[in-house]
Symmetry: C2
Subunit: 216 residues, 2 copies
DNA sequence: ACAACTGTCTGTACGACGTACAGAAAGGTA
DNA sequence: TACCTTTCTGTACGTCGTACAGACAGTTGT
């Protein structure tokens, strides 16, 4: 039979590239085909439909996180989790267009399973029971993906994102423009709320979550 | 000038209805127009474009959460937060098609601001500083929206969702079908991971987050 | 060496989408 | 009664996902 011009990986990388440079609206079966210099329907040789393409992109991006950060001595369980989450967050923000895809895809691919196993191990090392470790693993994943998605929602979704300082400044400006007369606490909290999209906020809430998970 | 046939609220409700009964794919400017027995472009009298329509739906759904659950005596701060979050989660799962919209919309409408103010107050009552209260508020919102989005991602997105027991059973089946030979901890945790989409898991992780936030 | 087979890719086509643009319809105001 | 402004209709364009049919090119069996 006639050999393929590309392999699956190439197709997915081209698609991810389109997502990075053009944002969510730039990803279409036809744009991928055009980027490969091929007819639109040739793409269906590699993916069964657009949802399948999106799932493959999501899995690809997830796989870019530094899974090895989860390895290490049991006593370092907390550092292992924090390092992994920060690395994953970095990867997600480097591919903002892909983040929404991660939130609609079933996370049971091989990469997702490996991440789950690593987190479970770290929590076991922290002394949690297996069920509590499982619950804590989910809480951390929710936090990681949720905060990335909310961060990205305020951007055009193209890579690279504006530097964090600019995104924080834009948020402050938006809050300053909002009618906060009836919301005194909110008004007082604007400087902090402006930093919600920052890595510092992410570290803080991840830290509090870990505090709560391992008990007082 | 010629009077409008509808008001903004009606249009948004019709759109939300389409989303509820048909899932994310059923919401289009044209389908809204058809449901109103009107030509496609008439919809643009009420919204400026599709993104605007989606933002209005998101704000509408957010407004259905029981904001008054955040009122109460300072000593009850924790119960207030938990009740509000559970009510909000319920609303979100009643409108699964709208959840993805909430994750791409800037959350600075009046409803979002009121929710923020209420959460800030509850955390102040818990003894947190204003900046810490702001950070904790964000952590809780991330958790609420993130877990709803991941829950919904495993469903067709139409209302009503299958009962929780069925969704949990489906997850268990999916995990049982996955190749878990290399992931012993994951394999052992399957019964717990199957319940990730449950209200119980939500309460657990919210509880741990609150534990961590108010300190040991 | 040649024919048959089988996956890969091309070409064409369809219905649905968001929305731009021009004009008709209808009610308020002069 | 004549105008004016806003609402809504009608038509149109380009883009999308993808179904279907067939051309093409290696592989396999003889």
């Amino acid at each position: 039979m006639r050999p393929r011009q590309f392999d699956d990986q190439q197709v997915i990388d081209v698609a991810l590239g389109l997502l990075d440079t053009g944002g969510p609206g730039a990803l279409s079966v036809r744009s991928v085909a055009a980027a490969l210099n091929v007819n639109p329907n040739a793409v269906y040789t590699y993916v069964s439909d657009k949802a399948d393409l999106e799932a493959a992109i999501a899995e690809r991006v997830l796989g870019m996180a530094d899974l090895s950060a989860l390895d290490g001595p049991p006593s370092r369980w907390r550092q292992r989790i924090e390092r992994f989450c920060l690395s994953a967050r970095e990867v997600l923000l480097e591919h903002p267009g892909a983040v929404p895809l991660l939130m609609r895809v079933p996370l049971q691919g091989p990469v997702a399973l490996a991440i789950g196993e690593g987190l479970l191990q770290a929590y076991r090392d922290a002394g949690l029971s297996n069920p509590d470790a499982a619950r804590a693993t989910y809480a951390v994943i929710v936090h990681l993906l949720g905060s990335a998605a909310l961060d990205v929602a305020e951007t055009p979704g193209t890579a690279p994102l504006e530097p964090e300082t600019q995104r924080v400044a834009a948020r402050r400006a938006a809050f300053d423009a909002a009618p906060l007369d009836d919301f005194p606490l909110t008004a007082a909290a604007v400087p902090t709320m402006a930093t919600w999209v920052s890595q510092k906020q992410f570290r803080w809430s991840l830290g509090r979550l870990l505090d709560g998970v391992v008990g007082s």
